[in-house]
């Protein structure tokens, strides 16, 4: 947090030297508007995470997304990440909730990677208009196998890094 704060202060000072106070204020108003716009979604994400942590049956999650869930767990994580609505403020609280209720690193990695790479939210809202349809569709097609591979790699590395927490 402190590092970021310093980085932001230095950047703001550089913008001030280059563009004067107008440049600083322009960025501030634009980002304040963005901030106000996402606040409700942040709240929704936190509530979603809290509800999911509360209502998901723990044994069921650890069976279908836990360390022994195999390829199926990775696929469920991928599918879940792809359909999850909202931005980072939704995905990360939900992923964190999944970890708490017994999903393993592999399935949670599959979910987060799937959300970033093939989740429709970012693709529809930003990538399609900026990068164009052709690029976006091919980029998503190329990305399809990656969440499962990342989850499998994560699981593979995890049980070797932390052998004690591996399943018996």
């Amino acid at each position: 947090m402190i590092v970021i704060g310093v980085l932001v202060a230095v950047s703001a000072a550089l913008v001030y030297r280059r563009d004067g106070i107008d440049g600083v204020l322009e960025i501030l108003t634009r980002d304040l508007a963005l901030f106000g716009g996402i606040l409700p979604r942040v709240l929704a994400g936190c509530l979603l995470g809290a509800f999911i942590a509360e209502i998901l049956p723990h044994e069921k999650v650890s069976r279908s997304l836990g360390p022994t869930s195999g390829l199926k767990g990775l696929l469920i994580g991928t599918a879940f990440g792809a359909i999850l609505p909202g931005g980072p403020f939704t995905a990360y609280p939900v992923a964190s909730a999944l970890l708490t209720v017994g999903a393993d690193f592999g399935a949670t990695i599959a979910m987060v990677v799937s959300w970033t790479l093939i989740g429709y939210g970012r693709a529809v809202a930003w990538e399609l208009p900026i990068m164009g349809t052709d690029f976006t569709l091919w980029r998503i097609v190329i990305s399809l196998p990656l969440p499962v591979l990342a989850g499998a790699l994560g699981r593979f590395v995890y049980v070797r890094m932390y052998p004690k927490s591996a399943p018996p």
Binding site: A50, F51, I55, P85, R122, D134
Partner: protein, 166 residues
């Protein structure tokens, strides 16, 4: 804009659905989760304020030409490597990476390099890891996930080269 509204409806619809399930488990379950969700929200807001407002300034001082200059179609694997590093260094706002990617494409960047750039940015933009992931998730998980994600922009570039698309 309509896509954003649709996403909001889906999001709050999901909240209402899981909230309803919680209510059926009992009133205490509902109030407990409401309280915990609200506490998370209050804890996270200052960090997000810094992240959102700060990223504008950070993006403003990183010149886009520097990032786009090194990603031409003849740059091969060196270009892919540069793209991955650039993607990690690009601020993690929702627009910045795609905008730079679009500029790179228009300025003659190669498709595999731009793919590697966009995917590296999506997977482990450094600023997003610090500002968005760490506040919400255990730091150990975040670093682990980022490390495990490292090979995948290269793999995506290799697939793009192999199939000759987009």
């Amino acid at each position: 804009m309509s896509a954003a509204i649709l996403i909001d409806i889906l999001l709050w619809g999901s909240v209402a659905a899981v909230g309803f399930i919680a209510l059926q488990r009992g009133r205490a379950v509902l109030t407990n989760s409401l309280r915990e969700g609200t506490m998370d929200f209050i804890n996270i807001v200052p960090r997000i304020a810094l992240g959102v407002i700060g990223s504008g300034y950070i993006a403003a001082v990183i010149p886009a030409e520097i990032i786009t200059g090194w990603l031409g179609p003849d740059s091969g694997w060196a270009g892919v490597l540069t793209a991955v590093i650039a993607g990690a260094a690009t601020p993690g706002g929702p627009v910045v990476g795609f905008s730079i990617g679009a500029v790179a494409m228009k300025a003659g960047g190669g498709a595999p390099q731009v793919i590697a750039y966009v995917i590296a940015w999506a997977l482990f933009a450094f600023q997003r890891l610090l500002l968005w992931e760490i506040p919400f998730m255990p730091a150990r998980f975040v670093w682990f996930r980022a490390a495990v994600s490292l090979p995948f922009p290269f793999l995506a570039a290799a697939i793009a080269m192999a199939i000759g698309r987009p």
